[in-house]
Amino acid sequence: MANVSYRKERIDRGIKARTDDIFAIASLQETLYLLFPRLLLIVPLVVFPLLQGIIGAYWETVFLIALVVTLLALSWDLLASVGLVSLGQALFYGVGGYFTAFLSNYLGLPPLISIPLATVSGASVCTLLLYPVLRLRGVYFGLITFAIPLLLMRTIEATKILGGTEGISGLAPLPGLTVELYVMVAIAFVGVFGLRRLIDTDYGLVLRAIRDNDRSVEAGGINVPWYKAQAVFIAALPATFAGAFIAHHYQVVGMSAFALDYSVLPLTAVVIGGPGSFAGALLGAFVLVPLSETLRQFGTLRVVIYSVILLIFVVGLPEGIFRFAQRKYQQFERLVPMEEVAKE
């Protein structure tokens, strides 16, 4: 045969088929197969805060920011799973920050109470704010979410409420960087693993179905606007938490909490990490945030390099790092000669 052509064949590892469920505990090998990728994620995050002496406070703070972006990205990813493309994650972030500042400074509540309270009440308020526009789809919803944080920012600036351009300062401090990092790491884990589980339940399935075809879901007897509102509330929680937590970290919250960065970074992180997987949100944030710190030394060129990397991911790896790695881990690839074609 002169020219044998080959095609690439992908086969699931046998072990994968067996270990998708809880039965994996049956054998050590299968347990390790399941644990390994998870540990690869968990161990560095748990160890990193301990290395403050070696790495220095600067990179520890970068680590903290990466966790903030992770939470915002998780929030973005859940909204996207229901078909709501958010261009305004800063809304949740800023609302969380201002709520905790209000509770802490004006009502004198300690952070242990003001942060959770700001998280839940902030998420409720954001859900109410977005409820009227939930019927909008695709880019229209995105445009509204894009506008709301900017609108709030200018309102604060113009009316001088909530500290105006100065912001609200003197928030109660948190007990130190190491504790802060561990709290954030814990919340990020709850977010990643919790949302991954949620989206696999029947409830999560209904949410994903809304993205696919909302009329058909409605015809299935499901109150679509109500489910969307629930999804927005759940998605808002990690983001308002991040905003409230960081407000106490810096002990100040200002208009910059509604800045565009907090809307763009999470979106980009999910694109890099892999949409719909939640673990991708975390991976993406931990690639993106340190990268953008490193690129600071390039000055304005930073934006160019940043854009090129983004382009590479959007064009070259649209499934994101997480799904790519998952595929490589769970599948064999081999070349199979295509004899039928060769004979013709």
Binding site: D202, Y203, L205, V206, R208, A209, D212, N213, R215, S216, V217, E218, A219, G220, G221, I222, N223, V224
Partner: protein, 253 residues
């Protein structure tokens, strides 16, 4: 003795920018009846269905289901009260396995009260429903992605989605369109059985020969107005109906 009608549609109207899509249409439906809605393209059949099921709000008129006014109620409420429908342009949840498509209706408030709608039973109920509408038993088809289904199976899936809700009225919007003769032939006994089980059927169809094997009464729409009502034989005998729509179709029948 005449029973209380299960569904009463009175003087229903809807215009889209000056065009009377549905103009003063009314009919009554007895429990267990099968009604066909026929008419040429653009005669307002689908709009009428959308008005009854709440997907479009009527300008005027009333829809009474079991004595309750459901006019303009949101679609999910109408479904919950017991009217399920399929779509003419059937689309599945393409990123999910076929049987998972049925988890959505099974998760609804109505289905959760039924046997088999509880947590843990839903996957099994879904597979069972698929078998009922003609997905081969023990094949791998229910586990494939719904996006890869051929058109005829998407239609069956739509029917299964209706059945999952155990409704009192099932409205099928052009279920047969895009189906082959043999596919239609295989689904007709199923429809008859559903009707025998006491479910009321409304079918919007273009394929009259097949439709008239299922329904015992039909209404004919033209330009949004009801021009005839009666048994299949009666409506095809009306000259206005022949002029509007049937013409050659009845001659070769």
């Amino acid at each position: 003795m005449k029973q209380q009608p299960i569904l009463k549609v009175a003087d229903l109207s809807k215009s889209f920018g000056g065009v009377h899509a549905v103009n003063g249409v009314g009919f009554e439906l007895q429990p267990g009846e099968t009604l066909g809605i026929i008419g040429p393209n653009g005669s307002g059949k689908s709009t009428l269905i959308n008005l009854i099921t709440g997907f479009v709000k009527p300008d005027s008129g009333k829809v009474i289901f079991r004595g309750q006014d459901i006019t303009g109620a949101p679609p999910f409420k109408i479904v919950t009260s017991g009217i399920a429908r399929s779509f003419q342009m059937a689309r599945s949840f393409s990123s999910m396995p076929v049987y998972k498509n049925l988890i959505v209706p099974l998760y609804s408030a109505r289905a959760r009260k039924l046997k088999g709608g509880q947590y843990g039973d839903r996957d099994e109920t879904a597979i069972h429903l698929l078998e009922e509408v003609g997905f081969e038993r023990d094949s791998s088809v229910p586990y494939k992605l719904a996006g890869s289904l051929p058109h005829g199976y998407v239609k069956r899936l739509e029917l299964a989605r209706c059945l999952a809700l155990d409704p009192e009225i099932i409205i099928l919007d052009e279920l047969f369109s895009g189906m082959s003769m043999s596919e239609v032939a295989s689904i007709l006994p199923l429809l008859e059985r559903i009707n025998e089980e006491g479910k009321t059927l409304i079918m919007v169809e273009h394929r009259l020969r097949e439709l008239f094997r299922v329904v015992n009464r039909a209404i004919v729409l033209n330009f949004g107005t009801k021009i005839a009502e009666g048994t299949p034989e009666e409506v095809v005998a009306v000259q206005e109906v022949r002029d509007a729509y049937l013409g050659s179709e009845t001659e070769d029948a």
